[in-house]
């Protein structure tokens, strides 16, 4: 018997830990890591429900989530590198370049 409920609870907990990370982190890369946690929680949910209903859709969309997470990580890290080069900081709340 597959403990699907336990896996869904794990995915909820992973999502909430990610929310906590986004709210508390100052380091831009730390925020990105928390976003990866949230995306993983979503993928886990898709696969678990796909298993419950015996459909391949869940796995297909988890695959799309993984691909989009790769894009997001690449662009996000490039932005952080560019930000570091221009503003000399990686702390998200110290960047004030757009302040008039």
């Amino acid at each position: 018997m597959m403990p699907v409920k336990a896996i869904l609870l794990v995915s909820c907990a992973l999502f909430c830990v990610g929310i906590y990370g986004i709210l508390t982190r100052r380091h831009a890369i730390g925020i990105l890591l928390a976003i990866e946690l949230i995306l993983n929680a979503a993928g886990l949910n898709f696969v678990a429900f796909g298993r419950v209903f015996g459909q391949a859709e869940g796995q297909a969309f988890a695959l799309f989530i993984i691909a989009l997470a790769a894009c997001e990580a690449a662009v996000g890290l490039a932005i952080i590198l560019g930000l570091y080069r221009t503003a000399k900081t990686v702390l998200a709340d110290e960047v004030q370049l757009l302040r008039g």
């Binding site: 896996i7 929310i19 508390t24 890369i29 890591l33 990866e36 796995q59 988890a62 894009c71 990686v90």
Partner: protein, 173 residues
């Protein structure tokens, strides 16, 4: 009582413990490099859960793409920005109390919903096969599949354009 009925719940419990413990480390460690390494443990644990859910292909994709590519990218970014001199005190978290309250309340809400759904969730007798997934990706979901590859190419080109050192000529200097 088969072997699988003992092994699968034990494996799920072990992987859940690994995932949750390292997820807490990811958001609480002050050293961002160590946080990135704990993210690797989370990703491996999620891959283990995928395999236990009989989605072996996704488990291996998760290890290849996440642990192999994304984590390497994150570690490189941590190293390239290490000169910013963010000390432990500066990288310390803020607003921990309110954030903990918000995320705990959200978890309570989600857990209530999952509990309410739980009785109707018995796994289907036959799991989706890799053949179904592959056929679906080139028939039913061929449009999202191709759009993802377009998005991927544009994201990579954009990342290179943003991160290349020539782009700094548009800086304030």
């Amino acid at each position: 009582m088969t072997l699988a009925s003992v092994v699968i719940p034990l494996g799920v419990a072990a992987m859940a413990l690994l995932v949750l413990a390292s997820a807490v480390l990811v958001v609480s460690l002050r050293n961002i490099f160590r946080a990135a390494l704990s993210l690797g443990l989370v990703l491996i644990g999620v891959a283990g859960l995928f395999i236990l859910l009989e989605a072996e292909f996704l488990g291996f994709v998760q290890i290849l793409v996440y642990v192999g590519a994304i984590l390497t990218l994150v570690v490189f970014a941590v190293m390239l920005t290490a000169k910013a001199g963010v000390t432990g005190a500066q990288a310390a978290s803020r607003q921990q109390g309110p954030a903990a309250i918000v995320s705990l309340a959200l978890f309570a809400l989600l857990a209530t919903v999952v509990n309410a759904l739980a009785p109707s969730m018995t796994p289907a007798p036959d799991p989706p096969t890799l053949r179904q997934l592959g056929q679906g990706l080139i028939t039913t979901w061929v449009l999202p599949f191709e759009v993802i590859s377009l998005v991927f190419v544009s994201a990579m080109v954009g990342a290179i354009a943003i991160a290349s050192s020539k782009s700094s000529r548009s800086g304030p200097a």
